[in-house]
């Protein structure tokens, strides 16, 4: 079972000015990080339960905590997968999804099964000497709701050339 209380408590502790402005001693900073990390685990379970209920399907959900540095073992390892985009805003949002991947072409389908334009961009990496491919596609998400996009690899370099196929994915 999931629980948001530990993260709640960690966030409450981190209201202290030492945590906000970085004026704590180093060992205290480590402890702040430990509390946040410990709180996030059960919160992920809670989110997974909520998503399973909303979607009507029990999934092994994966949260990419290091997307900001283009690291996501799930999208980099899986051949095909679903991307659930949840919008906490009270209005519809159009948003560009970016995921690190290991293949060079994908078919991305929106919740109605229509193929959306996608690109795999080979980006020069500032931190490493290699290039890191990233999958980009535009997502449209309803107010206070979610959209599910399905991603699968293609051999063709042009994902748009693929005919749309029906899908049962929902957008709520």
């Amino acid at each position: 079972s999931g629980d948001s209380a530990p993260l709640n408590e960690a966030m409450a502790v981190l209201q202290h000015h030492d945590a906000v402005s970085g004026t704590s001693k180093q060992h205290v900073a480590y402890d702040y990080a430990r509390q946040l990390s410990a709180g996030w685990g059960p919160c992920e379970v809670l989110l997974s339960n909520a998503l399973a209920r909303l979607i009507g399907s029990k999934e092994d959900f994966s949260f990419c905590r290091e997307l900001n540095i283009s690291i996501c073992p799930f999208s980099q390892g899986a051949a095909r997968f679903q991307v659930i985009v949840y919008n906490p805003l009270g209005r519809k949002v159009d948003w560009m999804v970016r995921l690190p991947v290991s293949q060079t072409a994908f078919t991305v389908k929106d919740p109605s099964g229509k193929t959306v334009h996608s690109d795999v961009v080979l980006l020069p990496s500032s931190d490493r000497q290699d290039v890191s491919p990233e999958l980009l596609f535009p997502a449209s998400v309803p107010a206070l709701g979610f959209s599910i996009y399905s991603v699968s690899p293609v051999l063709s370099r042009n994902p748009r050339a693929r005919a749309p196929q029906p899908s049962s994915q929902k957008s709520w």
């Binding site: 970085g22 004026t23 999934e59 959900f61 949260f63 997307l67 906490p88 690109d119």
Partner: protein
Amino acid sequence: SGVLAIKNEFIRATFDPDTGLLMEIENLDQKLLLPVRQAFFWYNASMGDNESEQASGAYIFRPSRPKPLPVSRWAQIRLVKTALVQEVHQNFSAWCSQVVRLYPGQRHLELEWTVGPIPVGDGWGKEVISRFDTPLETRGLFYTDSNGREILQRRRDYRPTWTLNQTEPVAGNYYPVNSRIYITDENVQLTVLTDRSQGGSSLRDGSLELMVHRRLLRDDGRGVGEPLLESGTGVWVRGRHLVLLDKAQVAAAGHRLLAEKEILAPQVVLATGGGAPYRPG
């Protein structure tokens, strides 16, 4: 060679082909063009001087000189252009880089900076800033949001409720920036939204700066008892600045909506699909 630019329906950003630095932002919708030079600088942290023994530390920001040093006078750049994104990758040094990004339909310019580990082998503590220089005549005024509440007007070398004797020309003009800072000449407004709380200021008319990272070698004697110095090679930080150029009259609508979208950003969760049907209970 030639002009280097990224552009969508609303924004055009031009880069100096000689230096690789951002040179100009154009709002195509409102027909506004503003020369904007953006680069990274660092303040040399004070160890204390004849005026005061106060060193720059975790609590105290006190540069030894009012003028910051450039991280680099030019950036090595790479351009990425596809139908879904246009990016200019700028590499300023081994520890400072940035991606300037535009997506289709986006009304702001996204600057994703990566700074660190800050080298301190030279014995100098460093406080790194991103600075935007424009020709806007701002008459000593700039605006920041304080503690997440209302946006307050800040005036250089001035306090509204007492006569200020300014002894720290840089730090004495720094203010908390929790989500945004802007400058305006009452016709044109340049707004920068942050993804985290930072310190910021406008130390010259038309200029705007935000502190992105710091690494210091002395304790400031204010209670923490140790310098703001990570062990080992040090940490690096990645963050984003969202830049809006608007007519002053309509700028608030733009930055308020964008800030909402930023603070309540969509959350991405991945799954393999094909899971068992789930019913509550």
